[in-house]
């Protein structure tokens, strides 16, 4: 890391990535709440926390590292089964998640080793304390101490910062006022409150019926009740609200979180219909507030209402004075601080603008349409014989092309930064495993679509972990095998005819073919009389649930399985293959499409239909007479400047009938270092196009990746060359 600038860039990556990890963590947390034994979610949460922890350490954000370390310890016990995920814990996890996000925001503008502000510090301690309780050896006594608020002397009202006051109570305070029609609507408050009681502990509850009229005026079928309660639970506010979901239109619900500021209680007291004193007594009675806290709240409230009863001028002045004295000072300071933070952030972000991905997608869609319309105009202009028009249109087309390229370029990101993060992964894991492994990176400047990079990162981590954990042996093992003690994992990214290839290679032990074969036999994937090639056998490890016993370790359990790796890659329209040689190492090759919505195509004609091939797969075009093609005996091969070129008659493939032209054209495409000739009727030429996906009913047409609309209104199909070649091979195989 040379120089300040690259340091800054790295930090920008750290923040963006940590946020992305947090997003993923949140999704998993939510999934976990639905199914608290979902291992994949637990693993993904662990992974997120683990990665944030590692990165924080690397960039010197000690407090974030400290916090995530605690969290990781807890999660680690969950993964080993020592701890069970409870509702309380998942709420804590979500709160911890939010807090990490707060810290990230904070440190993005502050110095790495800056102290947290008092609010955050108290939240830090609160959360860390609760996390510790879960860990073996957590202190239960302390827990009890906090919950019994009455034992706290007035002095125990915690004072954080200058004037911000917090209530010392780890219970939620729930304030309920039921509407008059609750009973008539067939709802019984009893059912909601008793349900709430099942979800946590109602420490104390007080019925409020101040508004109930006396004597004949009281209508027994109307509800005049309200409840104030102290509720101890790990539920989130949202979950508590959900309990009252059915009755929400028929009641007023106010919820104050545990350890909230006294100011919140002041607001509550003001909001409730009953008198201040009455409510105040009740809050004290049920233990939400201690006497001292109540006194403070009442004073605060009294001063507030004092200022309201004054004349407007006095009010203004009074307000200012009061606020200055009471609350405004820390608020003002915070605001100032925030401003400087924003300034700092702006400086560091001057070279980066964060754009809403949706806006970018919208722009790209528009440009897609522009490209189509541009092609239409070009086609039309070519039929008109006006020299000036053709020239202008050609110029415009050039400009459109440039706009398209630079817009697509916005989304393109060099993969190098992502690769570099893996150094940490390799370093940590190899140390943990007592191995010596180096990560070599090639092709870091290869550009990939941003979304693609985001999605490929997790599978890559898993593959790298696998390589270090299983692929590369210990230094001793390696020496015995006659290799250098230091193993190498190589990451390589490069472009190859229309796709991007990412390789993860290790120089380790290689896969144990026999073990996989035996396992495959066991699972009935191969029959004993079959003899699949080594290559085919290796691909079995991508199947769900396929694992040979020796492969299970705490590391592989951490990540996603190979089947998930494969699934992730396939969801990006990519493919993954594995090559391995015993004793030599393993290479995993991921092919990804360029996933550009707009492609440079080459249009050809076949009978009455138009087809578009990705231009970057086309290497050359040539002409061949029908006799020459027909006269071939013993297969579809032709002579291309002395080389043997297999060809495919597209007419036969698409089962087109009708007259063939006298001279047919051959278009030579290259994919995966294989050249194939496609015989078509006519070549139309280069054509910029936007891929429009075909409907679901056409999804079985594998060799067509989409369609596009021509200037004439006709539809052209975009050929998926790799799949086309594959299906042609299969067809040929079946014929044999």
């Amino acid at each position: 890391m040379a120089g300040n600038q690259s340091d800054k860039n790295f930090k920008a990556v750290y923040f963006t990535e940590s946020r992305e990890l947090l997003d993923a963590m949140e999704v998993s947390l939510l999934a976990l709440e639905k199914n608290n034994s979902d291992e994949e979610s637990i693993n993904s949460i662990f992974r997120a926390v683990h990665t944030i922890k590692g990165n924080s350490g690397m960039f010197g954000f000690a407090r974030i590292g400290e916090f995530t370390h605690n969290l990781e310890n807890m999660l680690s016990s969950v993964r080993t089964g020592d701890l069970q995920i409870t509702d309380e814990m998942s709420v804590l996890l979500l709160e911890a998640h939010d807090f990490i996000s707060i810290m990230l925001d904070y440190y993005e503008g502050a110095d790495d080793d800056a102290a947290l502000d008092p609010d955050m510090e108290s939240l830090f301690l609160n959360l860390a304390g609760r996390i510790d309780e879960f860990l073996p050896g957590g202190n239960d006594e302390e827990h009890d101490k906090i919950s019994s608020t009455e034992t706290y002397a007035p002095a125990e009202v915690s004072i954080e910062g200058d004037n911000e006051l917090y209530v010392n109570n780890d219970c939620w305070h729930i304030s309920l006022r039921f509407g008059k029609n609750v009973f008539k609507d067939g709802l019984d408050p009893y059912s909601f409150i008793s349900y709430l009681g099942e979800k946590g502990e109602i420490k104390n509850i007080k019925t409020v019926y101040e508004d109930m009229p006396f004597g004949d005026k009281m209508m027994a079928d109307q509800c005049y009740l309200g409840f104030e309660m102290d509720f101890k639970s790990s539920m989130s506010k949202r979950e508590i609200e959900d309990v009252f979901d059915f009755v929400i239109n028929d009641c007023e619900l106010r919820i104050l979180p545990p350890n909230t500021g006294i100011a919140d209680y002041v607001t509550l007291i003001e909001d409730l219909p009953e008198t201040t004193m009455r409510i105040g007594d009740m809050l004290k009675e049920i233990g939400s507030l201690t006497g001292a806290e109540l006194k403070m709240a009442l004073e605060l409230q009294a001063r507030k209402s004092e200022s309201i009863t004054k004349s407007p001028e006095e009010l203004l002045v009074g307000n200012i004075l009061l606020e200055e004295k009471m609350v405004q000072k820390p608020v003002l300071e915070a605001a100032l601080e925030k401003q400087t933070l924003i300034k700092k952030r702006e400086e560091s972000n001057r070279k980066l603008i964060r754009i809403d991905a949706e806006k970018l997608d919208h722009l790209i869609n528009l440009i897609g349409e522009l490209v189509i319309t541009g092609s239409n105009v070009k086609q039309i202009s070519e039929s008109e014989e006006k020299i000036g028009l053709v020239k202008s249109v050609t110029d415009m087309a050039k400009l459109i092309e440039e706009i398209r390229d630079s817009t697509m370029g916005i989304r393109m990101v060099q993969i190098g930064e992502t690769f570099k993060r893996f150094e940490r992964v390799v370093r940590d894991l190899s140390r943990e495993k007592g191995k010596q492994v180096e990560l070599e990176i090639y092709g870091g400047d290869t550009e990939l679509d941003k979304t693609l990079i985001d999605k490929i990162s997790d599978p890559l981590i898993h593959l790298i972990r696998n390589a270090v954990d299983h692929g590369i042996g210990s230094p001793d093992e390696r020496k015995r095998a006659g290799k250098s003690a230091i193993g190498t994992v190589t990451l390589n990214a490069f472009h190859e005819t229309g796709s991007i290839i990412i390789e993860v290679r290790d120089d380790g032990n290689g896969l144990d073919r026999d073990k996989i074969y035996v396992k495959a036999l066991e699972l009935g994937l191969v029959k004993p009389d079959q003899n699949p090639s080594d290559y085919d056998i290796y691909q079995y490890i991508f199947l769900p649930g396929f694992s040979t016993a020796s492969e299970i370790s705490n590391i592989s359990g951490r990540g996603v399985g190979m089947d998930v790796v494969k699934k992730n890659i396939e969801s990006l329209r990519g493919t993954v293959v594995l090559e391995s040689e015993k004793g030599e190492g393993t290479t995993i090759r991921i092919h990804l499409p360029l996933t550009l919505a707009i492609i440079d195509g080459f249009m050809v004609k076949l009978a009455d239909s138009y087809y578009v091939l990705p231009l970057d797969m086309v290497t050359e075009c040539t002409e061949v007479s029908r006799e020459e093609l027909d006269s071939k005996e013993g297969g579809n091969y032709m002579n291309l400047r002395g080389d043997v070129l297999p060809f495919m008659k597209m007419r036969e493939f698409f089962m087109e009938t009708g007259d063939e032209p006298e001279k047919q054209k051959v278009i030579v495409v290259e994919y995966s270092r294989k050249k194939v000739g496609l015989v078509v009727d006519d070549l139309i030429g280069e054509f910029q196009t936007v891929i429009k996906p075909l409907g679901k009913i056409f999804s079985s047409l594998q060799w067509i990746s989409g369609s596009t609309i021509l200037g004439t209104g006709e539809v052209a199909y975009i050929l998926d060359i790799p799949k086309l070649i594959k299906s042609a091979q299969i067809m040929e195989y079946n014929e044999l």
Binding site: D188, Y190, G197, T207, M212, F214, G215, M218, M219, C223
Partner: protein
């Protein structure tokens, strides 16, 4: 199950009531009117609620109301023997009568 009320005079202006059946929103309006009348016309009212098999929060509210009403008009109001169902409501709401 319908509501059954057994009324027993117990000396001067004193009434003993034994109520059985469902004390819910369906009957609460009539029951309240009846009980309030009883309360007004007597100095002491004792209710046996052991026979209440179904009850809801409106029953709770009415009993709390009667208790408050009695205190406000200086009358004695006692409940003896609450059914389990009623007891569970009172204990959830942390109220006594």
């Amino acid at each position: 199950m319908k509501l059954h009320i057994m009324r027993k005079k117990a000396g001067d202006n004193k009434v003993q009531l034994k109520i059985a059946g469902n004390m819910t929103i369906y009957s609460i309006k009539k029951l309240k009117e009846l009980l309030l009348r009883e309360l007004k016309s007597s100095s002491r009212i004792t209710m046996d609620l052991s026979g209440i098999n179904e009850a809801d929060t409106s029953a709770f509210q009415m009993l709390v109301f009667l208790k408050r009403e009695a205190a406000a008009t200086d009358r004695e109001f006692h409940v003896v023997n609450m059914s389990n169902r009623l007891q569970s409501i009172f204990s959830l709401y942390n109220e006594t009568i």
